[in-house]
């Protein structure tokens, strides 16, 4: 069985989410910061009149902060009917992957990403890390 994933990069790594969960992909939008909010919620954006929380995936995955000059891209996903924006470094292609390519995360994987990654698809030249969207947006 094959799965279609929307791919994006974070800190040089390739990640993917199920295409069915993705509503749209946007270039960086002005964000309103939210004092007192957890680090993972970087701000609020206006998506055609709807107010969306923007989740900083780098913070969620325990990666280093994005450099300021690098404008993030937004992947808008729907979780439980609620649209939420994921901040990523850049958007990649939509890729079809086969179940045979999939492997569980290694036991040595530790830290916050352990909970957030379903596993990895072994592409020819690199690994595509499959993200658990529901967990990724949970604060």
């Amino acid at each position: 069985m094959s799965t279609r994933l929307v791919t994006f990069t974070l800190d040089g790594r390739l990640y993917g989410v199920d295409v069915n969960a993705v509503q749209e992909v946007l270039r960086g939008q002005p964000q309103t910061r939210i004092p007192l909010a957890p680090d993972s919620v970087s701000g609020l954006i206006n998506l055609r009149g709807q107010v969306l929380s923007a989740i900083e995936l780098r913070a969620q995955l325990g990666l280093s902060d994005r450099e300021d000059e690098h404008e993030p891209m937004l992947v808008v996903v729907r979780v439980g009917g609620e649209p939420i924006a994921l901040l990523v470094d850049s958007i990649g292609a939509v890729i079809d992957v086969e179940d045979e390519q999939f492997e569980q995360p290694p036991d040595t994987l530790a830290g916050p990403s352990r909970d957030l990654l379903i596993g990895a698809y072994k592409l020819d030249d690199r690994l595509l890390l499959a993200l658990d969207v529901d967990r990724a947006v949970a604060a």
């Binding site: 002005p30 964000q31 309103t32 910061r33 939210i34 004092p35 007192l36 909010a37 957890p38 993972s40 919620v41 609020l44 954006i45 206006n46 009149g49 709807q50 107010v51 969306l52 929380s53 989740i55 325990g62 609620e82 939420i84 830290g111 916050p112 947006v137 949970a138 604060a139």
Partner: protein, 732 residues
């Protein structure tokens, strides 16, 4: 005859719909004669019509539906079974009901329509079958077969003719002049209008900048139309408060009877309209207030006569519009509330200290009845005083952006006044700036704005042992800097001070902001689930330039900064031991050995971990662990609080507690529970390291002074810059 009562009209619309359904049900019933569901549904429909017609004094309608109901009841209960005859008479009954309804619609009365034939028919079927179900069937048959076709038919013709004669095209029938609309559709419309209002705001702003005359003219027209449309759509969702009040006469009567009191209920302003979602939201609080007024407000007839009043008490409901809000009052002419008694009670319950109540005005003292844990009922009665108190009423009202206050004159009575917004979706708000970000403050909480230039600010703002106050017309107004509350850096450095005087929980305080921008109607957008828990913002909105602004939750803000008796209470060791923290918070309950349990505010708990004893390392004489790339100080609660742990395993149960970007590891023996309730703890049993105690499911749980506990392990944990953060976290 044009003046058909509104109630009758509603009745007609509803009944017409019901009858159409009834026709379908009856036909379907013929195919599955044993369907209890269908019979039940038909029975209910007829029962409803019967009930209402009796209430509206339509005697004929009532008599027809009454026998019909009897027949249906037997069918439903299985005492009779369906046959073609019963279907016939039932259909005949429905036809007669329909005829009667159209006569009522035309003339407002039942006219001279003869219903005795149908009543006789149904009675025949009823009686003919009742004594001996099976053998009696043939006997009833001739009656049933001839009658339904013969009798009602002329009646129908007669009425139809009459309708055609009198019904001119100028008058729409009741059923046609109103339609039922799905509430969801209305909600969608409301949302779209919200979008339109936003877009309008943007265009009006851009047009103002563009200085293009044509553009300005069009934008003004757009402005006008959008406003009218907004009002129109809002109106579709409006319902008279009478929809809610109509059940109160019964409530009051029953309650009065059970309390042995005679009560008259007056209703003023029944036609006052408000948004249906709000109507739903005020239903329970209002019912509670009405029950309270009867149960606690009014005295017994004897006591009333002794006080020189009429034996019969009066409860008055009053509703009116005022300044874009709906005001609903529940008043009684009872004994009133004695402020001194309230004050005494508040002290007794530990809600306020003697010194605090001594300084409060009687009016302020009365508002204490809304504080959680306060109940004025001397005895728990059957009707009220079962724990769901006035605090719940207040929470509910504030939840919809409303306010509540109580006024009382001893011996004369009590008035509870609710102020609720007209609608939830669009609210007038003040937009302000703080540290470069914009925030919206709902107007409902805003009393006034005070602007002080640098010279005046330096003298007018006084320091009350660390708490900033401003003398507003002679009274001290506590000041809170929004930038401090939010933990951001204010960018106002010229000494100019802007104060938004806000009211919440019946208390006033001044919120110091950087700049005031404008007042505008904002559309409230809900926040995602990650942010609701913060309890600082009630929502977000989109401003004229398309940027998102957060809406400050003034009630939550007030609770956070006021109930803890000043923001900087935990700064020093001179902690006011008699003060009480009253917060809606979730607590983690943990066992620390020796049957002792402590509660830790969950808001700052980031993780629970099971680690092994071997991860604990030492720096000097302190224990630390490595955790996610950081070094956390370790607090062993059993050592710290001096409890004896009988546990001998090398497993550590660790509560990771974070403030800002720093964390500490609190070691407990076991995690017991997470409680989520309005907790109120008294500090007067404070021991070393404990803020107070509370009851959780009948067990005493000590509330941990987390700050002190962590400081014992790491004195530098709260650095100066983190101080405010820390306090906020703790009081959250």
């Amino acid at each position: 005859m044009d003046e058909i009562d509104e109630i009758v009209q509603e009745f007609l619309v509803e009944s017409h719909e019901n009858l159409d359904q009834l026709d379908r049900d009856l036909v379907a019933l013929e195919r599955e004669p044993d369907s209890r569901d269908l019979l039940g549904s038909i029975f209910r429909t007829i029962h409803t019509i019967k009930g209402t017609s009796g209430f509206l004094a339509f005697g004929k309608l009532e008599s027809v539906t009454h026998v019909g109901e009897n027949l249906l009841a037997r069918l439903r209960d299985g005492k009779m079974s369906m046959s073609p005859q019963t279907t016939d008479v039932l259909l005949a009954m429905v036809d007669t009901v329909r005829d009667l309804l159209s006569v009522i619609e035309r003339s407002g009365g039942e006219g001279d329509l003869d219903v005795s034939g149908v009543v006789a028919l149904i009675t025949d079927v009823l009686e003919g079958r009742a004594p001996e179900p099976a053998p009696a069937a043939p006997a009833a048959e001739p009656v049933a077969e001839t009658a339904p076709v013969a009798e009602p038919a002329p009646v129908v013709e007669h009425v139809d003719a009459a309708v055609e004669h009198e019904d001119t095209t100028t008058r729409r029938t009741v059923a046609d002049s109103s339609i039922r609309v799905d509430v969801e559709l209305l909600d969608t419309l409301m949302r779209l209008v919200g979008e339109l209002v936003l877009t309008r705001n943007q265009i009006v702003r851009q047009a103002g900048e563009a200085e293009d005359v044509e553009m300005i003219r069009s934008s003004q027209r757009l402005n006008l139309i959008a406003t009218e449309l907004q009002e129109g759509v809002m109106k579709t969702r409006m319902q008279p408060i009478d929809n809610l009040w109509s059940k109160f006469p019964r409530v009051v009567r029953d309650l009065g009877a059970s309390c042995g009191k005679q009560v008259t209920l007056n209703q003023v302003g029944k036609e006052t309209e408000l948004d249906r979602s709000l109507l739903e939201a005020v239903k329970d609080p209002l019912t509670h207030l009405v029950r309270n007024a009867v149960d606690h407000g009014l005295e017994s007839p004897e006591a009333r006569r002794a006080a020189g009043k009429a034996g019969e008490g009066t409860v008055t409901l009053r509703a009116y519009h005022q300044g874009g809000q709906v005001v609903v009052e529940v008043s009684d002419d009872g004994a009133g509330i004695d402020a001194d008694k309230i004050a005494a009670k508040a002290v007794e319950r530990g809600i306020r200290t003697q010194a605090q109540v001594a300084q409060m005005s009687p009016a302020d003292v009365l508002q204490l009845i809304f504080v959680p844990g306060f109940s004025t009922a001397a005895a728990v009665t059957n009707v009220s005083g079962r724990g769901v108190g006035m605090d719940v009423v207040r929470t509910n009202i504030e939840g919809i952006g409303g306010t509540i206050e109580v006024e009382s004159v001893v011996g004369r009575g009590t008035t509870c006044r609710l102020r609720i917004p007209l609608t939830l979706a669009i609210v007038p708000a003040l937009t302000v700036e703080c540290a470069g970000d914009r925030y919206a403050i709902p107007q409902v909480s805003l009393l006034e704005l005070v602007s002080l230039d640098a010279d005046r600010a330096s003298s007018a703002i006084e320091d009350l042992n660390g708490a900033l106050v401003y003398r507003l017309r002679g009274a001290l107004l506590p000041l809170v800097h929004l930038s401090d509350v939010l933990g951001v850096e204010s960018d106002r450095s010229d000494g100019h001070v802007l104060i938004a005087v806000l009211q919440a929980d019946g208390k006033r305080f001044g919120l110091v902001i950087d700049r005031v921008l404008s007042t505008e109607e904002i559309v409230v957008k809900p926040l995602g689930s990650q942010l609701k828990a913060l309890g600082t913002y009630s929502g977000a909105t989109i401003l004229g330039d398309g940027r998102v602004a957060l809406i400050l939750d003034v009630q939550a803000l007030a609770r956070r900064v006021l109930n803890t008796d000043g923001v900087d209470q935990s700064e020093g060791d001179d902690f006011d031991a008699s003060s009480v923290l009253t917060e809606q918070m979730r607590m983690l309950v943990a066992g620390i050995g020796g049957e002792r349990r402590v509660a830790i505010p969950l808001s700052s708990v980031t993780r629970l971990e099971n680690l092994t004893e071997s991860v604990v390392e030492r720096i000097g004489n302190r224990e630390v662990i490595q955790y996610r790339g950081g070094i956390l100080p370790v607090v062993r609660l059993n050592n710290y609080l001096g409890s004896y742990s009988e546990r001998e395993s090398d497993e550590l149960v660790v509560v990771v507690y974070s403030v800002g970007d720093r964390s500490a590891a609190i070691v407990v023996e076991e995690i017991v529970d997470i409680i989520d309730e309005e907790t109120e703890f008294h500090s007067d049993v404070a021991d070393h390291g404990v803020l107070g105690s509370t009851l959780v499911r009948d067990r005493i749980v000590e509330v941990l002074d987390v700050r002190a506990a962590i400081l014992s392990a790491d004195p530098t944990f709260y650095t100066a810059s983190d101080l405010l953060d820390a306090e906020l976290q703790e009081t959250m």
